[in-house]
Symmetry: C2
Subunit: 401 residues, 2 copies
């Protein structure tokens, strides 16, 4: 049976040339979207040197000997008003008043704080302290240099990028379009939203949970249906799904039982059909991956933990790779239990604030609870070294949901 890594490589080989779309959006609308090109500042920020305080713009060399007992007298050229161009030039022996944020006049190379000076008469100022060259000023380009990259292609736009973008005059960004998903859920025992389950029936939850994860990750769900275990209906729905979406997810019908039509139905549509059936991981072992009409179709087992996990570790992986996005939301935590699984396992964990470290505990060791285990988990640990397993006290990476 394929390893998870081999399955992801195979999926990548088949779909790495899938077309991707682009959109130009306002910076604020672009928050959480994946950026589609390196975004570069075309200007220096600031575009002129500025004072960092209220004081006098000086030549540092002029006041190198100044102290309380031996102040230096400078000629006062006047004030640089905030937001206006500094028109004077500060020469040897001269100074000009600047406010916080004022443009530095030509010739000046430092600012002395107003508290360390005294206006002597109208046209001169006594300075009681020395400064070093560059003191209390922000140089042209100190924040951003022309040509500097603010966000790289494949990064997710975050509120923390907004200030720098706007500072560089960038109010629109090029992002990847949201991938469109169709979700088909199957199972005769399932009832859809709004219906009351009768004896023997349960509520369908997977398509709803998947929609939430897809939307949060920046995708769009264009179709979500529940189909009975009827091969003909199922095939019709898959055809519609493949036509309207970029990626199709099917929940259920992936095992080898008599009602497990997923592989058959994928194979009945034009395209290469199923090329992965089963991966050596738990949960998610019955994973099916196929190609219909050029598009990826993922058959996810119905067990509620599997579809959500497979979305993160397989489906989102493909989509992020297409967009050049390599983000991983991972923290390190100390493991608070022992475990030696017999198959490569993604274990849901709950995190707790420990004394020095964050502690990870299994989210569902006691009972087979499924939706509730996802609900209370903060992430998962990927156990890929079966011999070592997980030992109490070891540091593990926890991938967040």
């Amino acid at each position: 049976m394929l390893s998870l890594e081999a399955a992801n490589e195979l999926i990548w080989k088949k779909f790495k040339h899938l077309p991707v779309g682009y959109a130009e959006v306002d910076v604020l609308e672009g928050i959480d979207r994946i950026v589609a090109e390196d975004i570069v500042s075309n200007v220096n920020v600031p575009d002129f040197s500025r004072s960092m305080c209220d004081g006098y713009a000086v030549q540092a060399g002029d006041i190198s000997t100044a102290n309380e007992d031996n102040p230096v007298l400078l000629e006062h050229l006047g004030e640089v008003a905030s937001g206006e161009k500094a028109t004077m030039e500060v020469k040897k022996g001269q100074c000009a008043y600047v406010s916080t944020g004022s443009m530095m006049p030509a010739g000046a190379d430092a600012v002395i704080m107003v508290e360390q000076t005294k206006v002597q008469e109208k046209e001169s100022v006594l300075v009681f302290k020395s400064v070093i060259k560059g003191e209390r000023m922000i140089l042209r380009g100190d924040d951003l240099k022309a040509g500097e990259i603010i966000i790289k292609r494949g990064e997710r736009l975050s509120p923390r990028h907004v200030g720098a973008l706007v500072a560089a005059g960038i109010y629109e960004v090029k992002v990847f379009t949201r991938p469109r998903f169709a979700i088909i859920s199957t199972g005769d025992e399932l009832v859809d939203i709004g219906q009351e389950p009768a004896a023997g029936q349960i509520r369908e939850t997977n398509s709803y949970a998947l929609q939430a994860f897809i939307t949060k990750a920046g995708g769009e769900v264009v179709r979500r249906v529940l189909v009975r275990d009827d091969r003909k209906l199922y095939r019709q729905e898959l055809e519609i799904a493949v036509e309207c979406a970029d990626i199709v997810l099917i929940s259920g019908g992936c095992s080898v039982g008599i009602r497990d039509f997923t592989a058959d139905v994928i194979n009945s549509l034009p395209g290469e059909g199923v090329f992965i059936q089963g991966v050596a991981i738990r949960p998610g072992r019955p994973l099916i991956v196929g190609e219909c009409m050029g598009k990826p179709v993922f058959g996810l087992p119905g067990h509620p933990i599997a579809p959500v996990l497979l979305f993160k570790i397989v489906v989102q992986k493909l989509w992020h790779r297409l967009y050049g996005c390599f983000e991983e939301d991972v923290i390190r935590a100390v493991v608070d239990f022992d475990m030696s699984p017999s198959l490569y396992t993604h274990l849901l964990v709950q995190l707790e604030k420990g004394e020095e470290f964050i502690k990870a505990k299994p989210a569902n060791l006691a009972n087979p609870a499924q939706t509730s285990a996802i609900s209370r988990s903060n992430g998962y640990i990927w156990i890929k070294d079966l011999e070592a397993g997980l030992c109490r006290g070891q540091i593990a990476e926890v991938f967040s949901f």
Copy 2:
């Protein structure tokens, strides 16, 4: 000067009775909103015991001696179809066929997998293995018990909660309304969006960055304006802001310079006026907090890092406390530098994947870059022990943006 903790306590005392609003929203629309009441399952999930595999529902006691050499013969009562009510009762010596997810018939207390059985003739089945009581079945209420809390008041609804909510038949949740913010930026040197800065001018970035952080955190910005340093205009704008928003943020004009009108203007409106002016932290020392017409008004210094940090550590803190939300997005990282600040400091850091731990480096030690430092940082460390400072190799909490 007030400590940050004392300032937050004072703010809480003044505003803990601010009214909060509620909304009923669809579960999927509620993602990332703060839940306004404990959400409880009113049903058991599943509401009946179910089989976890294809096989036969049995009484475990009947087949306790079964093995390859000595199989046990059971009477076959027929099949429980998936999604239908189990109408038969399995008595001693009997069994019934069940599929994965089928309702368990009365009397049965375990399932034997179909692979470990052989249909002998139409009405009997040979069983080649024993099972223990409860094996391969999910008991009523194993996932959620009636009365169990799925999400607590004050938690943020996440995609991982969706499956459990829907499983319990909950498609709508009660959440807090988004708090409405107005943002006023001041400064004669600032130009607004779409304008090209002239010499001496720079682009206004704080209101945009604040809007991004507020929106991401679940708030709503109902007004955003740039005002010149004109006391009358400024007062007019503050009056409008206080009328249309729940919380008002002002960026700039908080120092003690000649153009720093913020405190005066807050005091000129009806209400208690300014009750905090200055906190012993860097950046953000000139923070002003006041009350106008019953509403909180925060004066945030114009330095680009300060407003964003103060939003997280002061403004959002109040709002979360009003909503009973105590989430903290914090990880532990190993510090990769030494630092002994002279004032309580929030230091922006960049995170890097280290060998065993995640490493934290300062985001802006080399130059006074501001918007770019926020852009490249992943979070901040709160240095509140000045004597100890931060030492290379120590573990620190990093709060995420």
